[in-house]
């Protein structure tokens, strides 16, 4: 009996030593099978248990179980050590250069003029404006006559016009859309008209084609203070809450009274004499506006004693240049990928 127990213990001691020296999971499995497997050394020893007296069996059994438990615990422990060592090795082995350039997709972009138009349209939409567009080649009637600039009126000198043949021009102002809108439609009118306009001019701040956003609101009891409030809302939403606006009397044939509107410089607030945005004046001239001239209302078949309205025209390109820090208007129309992909 004693010899059997010592045999078991010897197996235990030997096995624990072997486990400690095992260097990989496969070797460890070999040790496990060689001891605990069906034909393993411990199993073989226990097969001889039949020849042992029944009094000794519990003792031997207990000794065997004890050794088996120790071996299993040691195996488990070693296994976990080896597994985590293997994982470490694998992780180290699978390391890649994460700083290599990715297969990066090209980023598309909307033109800054489109982005600016959207931003402004979104702001005005909240006040109840709808969108309307019109043709770029326009009749002299809609572009001039109907906005109270008859032929041979000095106001025609204010805009250098491209002529497209008898009675046709490239529209010089989106105001032409206003008159189209009023013709044949009942008031109330609350429209925004974005679009390209054309004038004979070409330098860093003038382009023969540029963009305007026209606004027109006609209803009962519309006042000039409504115009001011609307434009103030626009200015604060687009240029920031601290923005102020300034109205100056001005003349546009299609409004009376007329007002040039300046927006306080969002960059320097008028505090930087060397400011690049406002050139030190503190103000940005970006739009013209006024109360719709009664002649336009009459032409549309509205009664100027019943309804009134306001209109404004914003230079979209100018606002886009201001918002995006674009130094030269000509970049806008060169189609240069390096320019267009920035915005």
């Amino acid at each position: 009996m004693e010899s059997l127990i010592s045999k078991i213990n010897a197996i235990g001691t030997k096995t624990l030593e072997d486990i400690a020296t095992a260097s990989d999971l496969a070797g460890l499995e070999i040790f496990r099978v060689s001891v605990l497997g069906k034909k393993g050394s411990l199993s073989e020893v226990l097969k001889g248990l039949g020849s042992v007296g029944s009094d000794d069996r519990p003792k031997i059994g207990a000794a065997a179980n004890d050794v088996k438990a120790k071996i299993e615990a040691a195996l488990e422990e070693k296994k976990s050590i080896l597994e985590s060592r293997d994982l470490e090795a694998r992780l180290a082995n699978e390391r890649i250069d994460v700083s290599l350039p990715s297969r990066k997709l090209h980023r598309g972009a909307l033109h800054p003029i489109t982005q600016t138009t959207r931003k402004m349209v979104e702001v005005f939409s909240r006040l109840g404006f709808d969108l309307l567009t019109g043709p770029e080649i326009e009749t002299d009637y809609f572009c001039f006559e109907a906005v109270n600039i008859p032929a041979d009126h000095p106001a025609r000198d204010q805009q250098d016009t491209f002529f497209m043949g008898p009675g046709l021009v490239l529209r010089t102002q989106t105001t032409a859309i206003q008159t189209r809108a009023m013709r044949g439609n009942e008031w109330p009118i609350r429209i925004l008209c974005p679009g390209a306009v054309y004038r004979k001019d070409n330098d860093a701040t003038h382009s023969p084609m540029f963009h305007q956003l026209e606004g027109l609101w006609i209803d009962k009891k519309v006042k000039m203070s409504d115009l001011k409030g609307t434009l103030e809302f626009f200015a604060k939403e687009v240029f920031g809450a601290a923005t102020k606006i300034r109205l100056r009397p001005s003349y546009f044939s299609f409004v009376e009274p007329g007002a040039e509107v300046d927006v306080s410089c969002f960059r320097c607030g008028g505090k930087d004499a060397a400011c690049k945005v406002c050139k030190g004046s503190g103000w940005l001239e970006i739009l013209g506006s006024g109360m719709v001239h009664p002649k336009l209302l009459e032409l549309a078949g509205y009664d100027p004693n019943e309804v009134s309205g306001f209109a404004f025209g914003i230079g979209i390109d100018r606002v886009a240049m201001i918002l995006h820090d674009i130094p030269d208007l000509r970049y806008m129309f060169e189609g240069d990928q390096r320019f267009l992909s920035q915005f």
Binding site: A109, L132, K223, D226, E260, G335
Partner: protein, 824 residues
């Protein structure tokens, strides 16, 4: 228009600084665009005395001067001029000065000798365009004085932006009236005193008579004959006044007329009385083909539609309201002058001015209209000035009119009109006060104000005009900010429809951006040559283009995008193909055939959406993983775009098989690497590789893929698809896959194969696609090995293996029958 600060100050009392004056005028709607002191650039420039003129030790040409500039110590200044001597009074620019010509004066060394300033010439001070030598001042000039003061350049010139309806501001007196109104004082009308008493012309005694034969187009004329004048140079004060606002001195008589124009705003003219034959002057319409020599030396040929001044021999001697005739000009020999102050129709003046390109000061004023009641007073001022500067005495005056000045009707408005229309808090008394400050006569009767504007305010005709006057007088800054009331009245349907179209435009742009494209914006016009490179011709022409580059309205957006790509290629550095990823959504222009009316342009603005692509597939990647975009990449962008726009029932057919091969876009593309995009039988557009012929000619460095779709057709399809999509359940039963590897003639297309697969596999084949293609050494020449996969599925049950087998068999049979396909 330029006005002089000092001149204004003569006509109205004020103590405002030039800047404060500019701010005041701008705030009242008379915008001051520029404010320039005559002394600009003359800081640190002083009168000086040459104490000693010596020689530069190292130069024969340069002199070394010791100069007294009024400081404790004399300065050493080197000078390159030769016209100065010891003891001369000169002009010295000190260190730190920035001269009008932009030159900055610093301490410098010239050939090893230090120089502490510069002795100036007239051109360096901006007094003359060219000059020789330095300025030598009069002996009595004090030393060390500011040169602006010494030369009397102490005025400030304001450049005003005068709008088309503001004729009343086109004179110093007109601007003075505005200042006076703002300050609550009266402007001082320039005097017409002769011999200490006010001159009064009675329209009698002139030996020259006046005949007006153009009816209401030339309704009034006031003339005055002055004999014994001595024509010669003007006195210094007159020259200085004219030059201060950019008007050139000619002679004393002409200068007097120009002064009156600048002072009172009513153009006047002086004739040599002896050159007016028959002692008669008149206004009539010109005769067709009549010739008229003008003061500027040109000769114009009249059309019968202009007003001219004529003499007793019916000879044209002036283009009425625009420019005098060269044949009646005042010269040094002139003894007697006949002065004219008349009124001409503003539209006729404008037409004549435009037709002959004579943008004169007179025309600028007449086309805006002049005060019809002011002729006599203007003439009195002119006659007085002529006699003051050229001597002589008045023989007599003459006046004529075709009809009396029409009385301006009073403008009536409710007392609260301004408050209600502007939204500004003003009482009826405030309104009255504001209008009276502008010389309006205001009568209040009950709840109505009757307002009669002054005769010089031709722009005040309706109550809205008056409300602007009140608002600008009170100050636009006092208008409150309110938000307009939304009414419950519905908005016209037309606006909804246009709005929906605009939403689709924005959606299309977003779809393009998601595919990595950048939005380009090109001008609506281009050159005939550029269009020609693409086999295109414009249909709509700009009649007065800025250049040939901007002459024809574009019929397609592709030439613009290719131009953009070339612009980019030319600026591209490095070994990789330049990246071009552009799209554009804008109108193209063709003639509609409709007649042009007030409301119809006769032009179709056909919006197109186009894109252009070339260069690396990825914005960055390792070489093995990248590569330039090819046909498939471009087609993917097109398919993805059409899918996002909800366009259904689209077919692509190879361009070489298109029935519409003469389409302008088709001709721009490689016939073997392009497709026509069809919606039903309608051509929606094209996509493909830019034609190699065009690429070669234009030196397009890369494979450039272009696409153009008709937005009009697409947006109709999109709108139909933009209704809310209904949910469609998917099959809960697993699909079965079957692959077919076949060998077919290389001309057989993937589309043809999938069509056969779908047809032969009905109804269980849900989809079919080609997933591998091989041509090369492993297959016979002229053959292609193709692998295709079909997906079988039933929505209501699981399929049996036997069903798949039987469908496979029919598919194989069909492939053999259609293409003689061999199974591999």
């Amino acid at each position: 228009m330029k006005v002089s600060y000092r001149w204004l100050n003569e006509l109205v009392d004020f103590t405002l600084s030039p800047q404060a004056l500019a701010d005041l005028l701008t705030s009242r709607g008379l915008e001051v665009e520029e404010l320039e002191g005559q002394g600009k650039g003359l800081d640190k420039v002083v009168s000086a005395l040459i104490l000693e003129k010596g020689k530069h030790p190292d130069s024969d040409r340069l002199s070394l001067c010791s100069v007294d500039v009024g400081a404790k110590e004399p300065l050493q200044i080197i000078c390159g001029a030769t016209n100065h001597q010891t003891g001369d009074k000169v002009v010295a620019a000190l260190v730190g000065a920035e001269l009008p010509n932009g030159m900055k004066i610093g301490k410098g060394k010239i050939r090893g000798v230090e120089s502490f300033g510069m002795l100036c010439s007239e051109s360096e001070l901006g007094l003359a365009k060219e000059s020789e030598g330095i300025i030598i001042l009069p002996k009595e000039t004090p030393v060390g004085k500011s040169i602006a003061e010494v030369l009397g350049r102490d005025d400030t010139i304001l450049t005003l932006k005068v709008y088309a309806n503001q004729g009343h501001y086109l004179s110093h007196y007109g601007v003075a009236r505005e200042i006076a109104s703002a300050l609550g004082v009266k402007a001082k009308r320039p005097l017409s005193n002769l011999g200490g008493k006010a001159l009064s012309l009675d329209g009698k005694g002139s030996s020259i008579s006046v005949v007006l034969s153009a009816g209401e187009k030339a309704p009034r004329f006031f003339g005055c004959e002055v004999a014994g004048v001595k024509v010669g140079p003007s006195p210094a004060w007159l020259v200085k006044k004219l030059e201060s606002v950019g008007s050139r001195s000619i002679n004393n008589v002409v200068d007097a007329t120009n002064l009156v124009l600048l002072e009172l705003g009513h153009p006047v003219h002086a004739y040599d009385a002896e050159k007016i034959s028959g002692k008669k002057i008149g206004v009539r319409f010109s005769n067709e083909a009549e010739k008229l020599p003008l003061l500027d030396g040109t000769e114009i040929i009249l059309s019968g539609k202009e007003l001219v001044i004529e003499d007793g021999a019916h000879r044209a001697i002036g283009l009425a309201g625009v420019m005098g005739g060269g044949n009646s000009e005042v010269s040094v020999e002139t003894k007697t002058v006949f002065l004219e102050c008349a009124e001409f129709d503003s539209i006729l003046v404008r037409k004549a001015k435009t037709k002959f390109g004579k943008m004169t000061d007179a025309a600028t004023r007449f086309e805006r209209g002049v005060d019809p009641t002011g002729l006599k007073q203007v003439m009195e001022r002119l006659a007085m000035l002529v006699i003051e500067v050229a001597g002589g005495q008045i023989i007599g005056s003459v006046q004529a009119e075709t009809s009396p000045v029409k009385a301006r009707p009073a403008i009536e408005m409710p007392v609260d009109y301004v408050r209600d229309f502007i939204g500004i808090d003003v009482s009826p008394a405030d309104v009255t006060k504001a209008l009276e400050s502008l010389d309006c006569a205001v009568v209040k009767s009950g709840e109505i104000l009757s307002v009669t504007p002054p005769s010089y305010r031709l722009d005040l005709n309706i109550r809205q005009d008056l409300s602007e006057e009140v608002a600008r007088t009170v100050g636009y800054d006092r208008i409150p900010s309110t938000i307009p009331q939304l009414s419950s009245q519905p908005i016209a349907k037309a606006f909804d429809a246009k709005g929906a179209e605009q939403i689709l435009i924005e959606r299309a742009k977003d779809a393009m951006v998601r595919s990595g494209l950048c939005e380009a914006l090109n001008y609506g016009f281009t050159s005939r040559t550029w269009l020609g490179e693409f086999g295109l011709e414009g249909a709509v022409k700009v009649q007065n283009p800025m250049s040939e580059e901007m002459e024809w309205m574009v019929p397609s957006l592709i030439p613009g995008l290719v131009g953009n790509a070339l612009h980019h290629y030319r600026r591209h550095f490095g070994s990789e193909t330049p990246v071009v990823r552009l799209f554009e959504l804008r109108p193209t222009f063709t003639l509609s055939g409709a007649t042009v009316t007030d409301f119809e342009t006769g032009i179709t603005e056909n919006w197109k959406i186009s894109f252009a692509m070339s260069g690396p597939r990825f914005a960055q990647a390792l070489r093995a993983e990248s590569g330039d975009v090819d046909f498939s990449d471009g087609k993917a962008v097109l398919e993805s775009f059409l899918d996002q726009m909800g366009a259904k029932g689209i077919r692509f057919i190879p361009l070489h098989a298109s029935r519409n091969g003469t389409h302008p876009t088709a001709k721009m593309l490689h016939p073997g690497q392009a497709i026509e995009v069809l919606s039903g039988n309608q051509t929606l557009g094209h996509f493909g590789l830019l034609h190699p012929g065009i690429s070669k000619k234009l030196k397009v460095k890369a494979n450039l893929f272009v696409c153009e779709l008709d937005w009009g057709i697409l947006q109709k399809m999109s709108r139909a698809a933009s209704q809310a999509r209904s949910f469609k359940p998917w099959s809960e039963f697993p699909p079965m896959e079957r692959d077919f590897a076949i060998l077919v003639d290389e001309k057989v297309t993937a589309d043809q194969i999938t069509a056969v697969l779908l047809k032969a596999g009905k109804p269980l084949v849900k989809s079919a696609r080609v997933f591998d293609v091989y041509r090369g050494t492993q297959v016979a020449p002229g053959k292609t090995s193709i692998a295709a996969r079909v997906l079988l599925q039933d929505d209501t049950r699981s399929l049996q293996e036997s069903e798949a087998e039987s469908i496979s068999a029919s598919i194989i049979a069909a492939l053999k029958k259609e293409f003689g396909a061999e199974l591999r």
